[in-house]
């Protein structure tokens, strides 16, 4: 109303006369500029928020990558290992004293180190897993017995951190993990070209360990795989069946309204509650084995079911009624209408919902803590009933460790987790394309 009262003189000498009979087009063009301004401002807001979120994402990714990329490499030290036949029993290779052989090789490098205390300090530069790795190598190639071979053993994580520049030499000796003598020994290795950073295969093939240089993500990856397999195998068919029934067949009455409200509520329940439920039902009541992928998958199924049901129902609702009418019109039964027309059209949406649910499950930690999946598990799980860790729990465990070397492994594990998430989304996109093309 106020804009009508507001009378502005129009340009021109007889403006005051003209303004009374202002033409509609003038009002429109005056408003037009305002409209353009408004539109521009609106676009700017949008652009600003996009930029802001991109910046946040970039900061997050760079911090993870810059912290984590060095974990993909590990410092190795070359030893000349003499596999003396006297120390190795050919009949019983596995029981031989590989620890002793490694120690012998080390002392050969440093003949000047004599007393026990110094020796212990010297041995601490090498990973305690070196002997196990040597054992495996020799067991695979028994022909090596009696020879002297150059052998790369992983350095201890303190050495690794030093070589990667994460721990500094400049700080006073008593605040350092390595004392001056140990630094000298390392310098000697450097001089002899015996120390080198190599691709960290262990990180991708081993399970968890107390020693960072021996710890790997593979156990957690396999654990996550088994867990998600259980979740997918149960929640996809159950979720879709529930959605189809509720959307297409269930009578609309109080009972179904009640169910619908409850499903929506379940989607908002904190995930730890599902963990408690799993603890009470699957572990305590059914007595299923603790810390296993099977129970983890069941708990995550409870959590993802509402997501899948809600997404699937939305996908079913989005199928145009005209398609249903067309199908019924040529005499298909309701069942045929659903399976021949509605389901195929809704499937891409259902798959998207499922993948979102699975991605959520992949990143879930809290409910798994409740069913004991937070245990320290070294062995790589071989099945659904083996004790297992999952990736986010592994990340949580490593983030909690005091060693500097675990910090970079935490970030590296996060990178692996993100890679899996990106892969899952890519699969979702590809599957959606495939299914949409068929129609």
């Amino acid at each position: 109303m106020s804009s009508q009262k507001e009378q502005r003189p129009v340009a021109g000498n007889r403006g005051y006369i003209r303004q009374k009979k202002e033409r509609t087009i003038d009002i429109v063009s005056r408003r037009l500029a305002q409209r353009y301004r408004k539109e521009k401002r609106f676009k700017l807001y949008g652009l600003f928020s996009i930029i802001l979120s991109t910046v946040f994402l970039a900061v997050l990714l760079t911090s993870i990558v810059s912290n984590g990329y060095s974990a993909f490499f590990q410092t190795y030290i070359k030893l000349d290992v003499t596999l003396e036949s006297t120390m190795l029993d050919r009949e019983n290779l596995g029981k031989s004293d590989f620890q002793g052989i490694i120690k012998q090789s080390i002392t050969k490098l440093y003949p000047e180190v004599a007393d026990r205390k110094s020796k212990r300090e010297l041995y601490a530069l090498f990973s305690s897993g070196a002997a196990f790795q040597l054992r495996e190598t020799v067991m695979k190639n028994p022909g090596l017995v009696g020879k002297t071979i150059p052998y790369w053993v992983p350095a201890d994580d303190d050495v690794d951190m030093l070589m990667k520049g994460h721990s500094k030499r400049g700080v006073p000796e008593n605040e350092r993990r390595l004392d001056d003598r140990q630094l000298g020994w390392i310098d000697k290795l450097v001089d002899q070209n015996r120390i080198e950073k190599k691709f960290n295969v262990t990180f991708f093939t081993a399970g968890d360990s107390r020693e960072p240089e021996l710890a790997g993500i593979w156990g957690a990856v396999k654990g996550s795989f088994f867990t998600l397999l259980v979740t997918l195998a149960l929640s996809f068919p159950i979720g879709i069946a529930a959605a189809v029934y509720l959307e297409e067949f269930a009578p609309k009455n109080l009972a179904t309204d009640f169910i619908e409200v409850n499903i929506n509520n379940l989607a908002a329940v904190p995930s730890i509650v599902f963990g408690l439920l799993g603890l009470a039902v699957f572990l305590n009541f059914f007595g299923m084995p603790r810390s296993t992928s099977l129970v983890g998958g069941l708990v995550l199924m409870l959590m993802t079911l509402p997501t899948i049901i809600i997404a699937s129902r939305a996908a079913l609702k989005a199928v145009p009624p005209s398609i249903r009418e067309a199908a019924l019109g040529v005499g298909s039964s309701k069942m045929q209408m659903v399976s021949n027309h509605v389901l195929p059209l809704a499937l891409p949406g259902m798959l998207t919902g499922t993948i979102i649910g699975m991605a959520q499950a992949l990143g879930e930690t809290a409910p798994l803590l409740m069913i004991g999946m937070v245990a320290f598990i070294v062995d790589i799980p071989g099945g659904f009933t083996d004790p297992a860790a999952v990736m986010p729990v592994q990340i949580y465990l490593w983030a909690d460790s005091p060693e500097r070397a675990f910090l970079e492994r935490t970030s590296a594990a996060i990178m692996v987790l993100l890679a899996f998430l990106i892969m899952m989304n890519a699969v979702a996109v590809i599957m959606r394309r495939r299914f949409e093309k068929r129609w």
């Binding site: 009578p251 005209s322 067309a326 019109g329 040529v330 005499g331 298909s332």
Partner: protein, 286 residues
């Protein structure tokens, strides 16, 4: 357009009564051989949406093999009545009926009536063309396949026959495997007719089949109805009175849920018994 003497006479009367639209005389139409038996009969038939009575106590016989048009202002219950005949309203949870509706001596809403069988015999074409997002062939073959035709040769025959009946064969015979959504609106609508014909229905229900089409496509659909007249009982809802007068033998006029007048088309358009009908067909309201 040339007017006949009779039309000029009618329009003179219409003009005197303040009508703002010319009305058109339906052409003389041939009698249909062995048609005219009641195919669908409504007795005190009402249709409700919850408490709202959308169609009120209709008593009427729809005659076999003739074309019956349903006209009336928007929201008067035309579609509701049409969709009640093949129980398409079952999809709407709040919808129920009272009275009886008989089809071929069988109670449409009877307890033992199988609505799937019913819909096979009573085909329907909708306002907006709604082909399946599949190939042209699969669109037509879907119905026959459902009802047990497996043989490829037979399916091909059915598809060709149906497309020919729907006057679409020549336009699509080279691209039967293309997606039906690639057709024009008019072609899609004829495809929907063909799809319905493929299951060999006895009755064709057409709910404003041309309202989403351009005049050329509309003419094709009207020709098609003319072509099918005498072979099927056809019920067509239209808001276009000229269309009703062109294609139909009988016309029902609905107003606010009441079946106000039901008569041979020529009689309804030239000599309506009811004042409301006259007001409507002379265009005093719409």
């Amino acid at each position: 357009m040339q007017m006949t003497a009779e039309e000029r006479e009618v329009n003179k009367v219409a003009a005197k009564s303040g009508a703002n639209r010319e009305i058109f005389l339906p052409p003389e139409r041939e009698r249909v051989k062995d048609g005219g038996k009641p195919h669908v009969s409504a007795k005190n038939f009402s249709i409700f949406y919850g408490n709202f009575e959308a169609v009120k106590k209709v008593n009427a016989d729809i005659l076999s093999k003739y074309v019956t048009a349903i006209i009336g202002p928007s929201g008067c219950g035309k579609s509701t009545f049409l969709r009640a005949i093949n129980r398409m309203n079952d999809l709407i949870p709040s919808c129920y009926t009272t009275g009886t509706l008989m089809f071929d001596g069988e109670d449409v809403y009877g307890r033992y009536t199988d609505e799937v069988q019913l819909r096979k015999k009573i085909g329907m074409v909708f306002q907006k063309p709604n082909p399946f997002p599949k190939s042209i062939f699969d669109n037509i073959a879907y119905g026959p396949r459902l009802h047990g035709v497996k043989d490829k040769k037979m399916l091909e025959e059915v598809v060709e026959k149906s497309l020919r009946k729907a006057a679409l064969w020549d336009e699509v015979k080279d691209r039967l495997d293309r997606n039906a959504l690639g057709l024009s609106g008019g072609q899609q609508q004829r495809l929907c007719v063909a799809r319905t014909l493929a299951v060999e229905p006895e009755i064709l229900l057409l709910d404003e089949p041309t309202s989403a089409l351009d005049p050329k496509a509309t003419a094709k659909i009207e020709d098609l109805i003319e072509e099918l007249r005498g072979s099927y009982t056809i019920l067509i809802v239209t808001h276009n009175m000229q269309q009703a007068s062109r294609v139909s033998d009988y016309t029902m006029f609905y107003y606010e849920g009441d079946l106000v007048e039901y008569a041979p088309t020529k009689q309804l358009f030239t000599n309506p018994r009811d004042q409301v009908t006259e007001d409507y067909i002379t265009g005093r309201f719409s």
